[in-house]
Amino acid sequence: MINPIKHLLALEALSKEQITEILKYANHFLHHSANQENKQILAFKTVINLFFESSTRTRSSFEIAAKRLGADVINFAIETSSAKKGETLLDTIDNLSAMEADLFIVRHSSSGAAEYLANHLKTHASIINAGDGCHEHPSQGLLDLFAIQYYKKQFDQIKVAIVGDILHSRVARSLIQGLKKLGTPEICVVGPKTLMPSSIDKLGVEVFYDLKPGIQDADVIVMLRLQKERMTGVYLPSEQEYRHIYGIDQQKLTYAKPDVIIMHPGPINRGVEISSEVADGPHSIILKQVSFGVAVRMAIMTLLLKPKALQSL
């Protein structure tokens, strides 16, 4: 039984069943990603990458996924000054509606931008939110869930620690929503108080300002990227101090379970939030996440545009 989804805007809006289903199809595509038959799935469909914020990885991942499914892909990068953000968005909708694309993959610096576009599009096109402000990044959340499932096999007996700039992280928000839906009992967020949203505990997570208890006996550690401009100034005194307290290295890794996996949405700041030896070490699955990303995005796009194709898988 396939549950069709029109848009993928936020993991908060998905049910446990819908998430599980996407992970199941992602597993299929992981093992059959280069099958020639896949090229038929989205043949003659047009996918537009609409990025109001720069991105290399996410955009490429979507592009590869779409091409493996046989879709035509067009990339739009629209740089906007913050003052003109809103107007551009309105203008863009009408222009894009006229192009009769089937799917828009949208990244924007404002929370809610993808949902706004979805509600104002004048055509039947679908929208995937590829990151809206500090809100959500659901395809990243799904690939993170996929990676956790791949290595840990289940969600209901693990501890997941998310470390870093929680305040500005759409990756963290999506993952928290997904893990809650899948019944993960212990979700810890770890970071400096200045980068921790007030009342984040109301989302059902435990808050730690200290790394050690936060990652103690963790099965999964997700390190978040710290933006350069936030390392020194009103949030943190210096890069060195951040690394000293929150940067993960071999020694700190010993607090977690022996079989802990280390994840990171990339791109990593080597030597800041993560030491090179950990990033390249046996616990790190950072590069695996990248390949999972393509499979997960193939599953998402198929579910949105051609759910019937999934029945025959």
Binding site: S111, A113, E115, C134, P197, S198, S199, K202
Partner: protein
């Protein structure tokens, strides 16, 4: 001048503690008599049957935006016509919009035009510092001579405490009240929503409660130090109310208002894909809302204001974060105050006071009463009148109240003894 008889209405006048069925007579612009019996030998040009209706002072609004950036007389007059539809007879308006400040002579000119329009009376509030930049004192004496009832820096911060203190001292010397929006410029800088569970969940930059209460504490100390009269706009948090309570207890010369919509909505209703609930200060928590309601009953907050602003869909129908703050709240002022009275068991006389005599006193103006011998500024209210979407949208489409079952509307608005609006 028209002679008007308003017969058989329930006359509610907080200032004179009157709440009774009576007839009200207007001649030469003034209320000449209110009495249960008929006034013999009064030949009315216009008779209003007010049976089953409320007759009360016209509404007084301490905080509304009526200027548009082009500041044409025409646009202001058409805006005022809407205010009359909402039952407003007196309102205070900043004599500036964003960074465009009217000069004293411009204020004079505009006031002259508006006074001839038989529309709600406008009381201007001048710029406290030059061009609102917070660097140099405004020409407060000239504003006063141009008829301004007070001065304000709007939502622009005065960073220098030296400039602030001197401007307050100067205002005090001239007997001008200062009108202050409470926001810490640094803490509120990038925020657009109340900091709490909603901001954490939606990833929207939050404005912490302390932004308002911290500003309030600083203001109170400066006000006490300089002795200036002060009014605080749009109190929105529990913490601010606690601080105000202490000031009221100590009889500081302050007044305050709360925006009508703050008494009915919280941040829990915020949606990411539209800006309808984007206001400044932002909608806070349910606890804050309950405290605000209590503070009105206890007299800690003086009055209810509309905080009305009409915004175009171009700036409002956007993702929450990108939209401009503000709600077209004029049509809400009367029906939601009536709803508040019902929900909180506030006697009608007390509820009407919050939108008539109390804000009039806060502004230091004549109005908000049905004194015999005073100019007749009053409204006739039908408690059962409902509001359609079309009625509301006339005031601006920027309202989250389109589907609310609003009850209570104006049948007549009478300004200086003339019918300014007739439903």
């Amino acid at each position: 001048m028209t002679k008007i008889a308003i017969l058989g209405g329930r006359v509610v006048d907080p200032v004179n503690e009157r709440d009774e069925i009576a007839n009200l007579y207007i001649e030469k612009g003034k209320i000449i008599s209110i009495l249960p019996s008929r006034l013999e030998d009064f030949v009315a040009d216009h008779t209003i049957d007010a049976k089953d209706k409320i007759v009360c002072p016209g509404l007084v609004d301490t905080s509304a935006t009526i200027l548009t950036e082009d500041v044409t007389h025409q646009s202001v007059v058409s805006s005022l016509k809407l205010a009359a539809v909402a039952g407003i007879t007196h309102l205070a308006s900043h004599a500036f919009i964003q960074n465009r400040c009217l000069s004293p002579s411009e204020i004079n000119d505009l006031s002259r035009v508006l006074n001839q329009s038989n529309q709600p009376k406008v009381y201007f509030i001048g710029a406290l510092t030059q061009n609102l930049q917070g660097l140099f004192l405004g020409e407060l004496m000239l504003f006063k001579e141009a008829g301004c009832i007070g001065v304000s820096n709007g939502t622009q911060p005065i960073i220098s405490t030296l400039v602030k203190r001197h401007s307050y001292e100067y205002a005090d010397m001239l007997g001008l009240k200062i009108f202050t929006a409470l926001e810490d410029p640094f803490l509120a800088q990038t925020g657009c929503v109340h900091e709490g569970e909603t901001s954490a969940r939606l990833g929207l930059p939050g404005i912490p409660s302390i932004s308002e209460s911290l500003a309030l504490v600083k203001e109170l100390l400066l006000i006490e130090d300089t002795g200036v009269l002060a009014h605080f706009y749009r109190i929105s948090t529990d913490k601010s109310v606690q601080i105000l309570k202490e000031s009221v207890r100590r009889h500081l010369k302050i007044t305050s208002d709360v925006a009508i919509h703050q008494l009915f909505l919280t941040d829990a209703a915020v949606q990411l894909d539209n800006g309808l609930l984007h206001v400044r200060p932002p909608f806070a928590s349910q606890d804050d809302l309950q405290t605000l309601r209590r503070a009105l009953k206890e007299g800690v907050i003086t009055a209810i204001s509309s905080d009305h602003v009409s915004l175009s869909s171009q700036v409002k129908e956007l993702p929450f974060q990108d939209s401009e703050p503000g709600i077209a709240s004029w049509p809400l002022l009367l029906p939601l105050t009536l709803q508040l009275a019902e929900e909180e068991n506030i006697p009608l006389l007390e509820a009407i006071k919050l939108i008539t005599s109390a804000p009039a006193a806060a502004l230091g103006i004549e109005g908000g009463n049905l004194n015999c011998g005073s100019l007749a500024n009053l409204i006739v209210v039908d408690l059962n009148k409902t509001w359609s979407r079309e009625d509301l949208v006339k005031f601006g489409s920027n309202t989250p109240f389109l589907n609310w079952p609003l009850r209570g509307g104006v049948c007549y608005t009478i300004i200086d003894g003339q019918i300014a609006y007739n439903a």
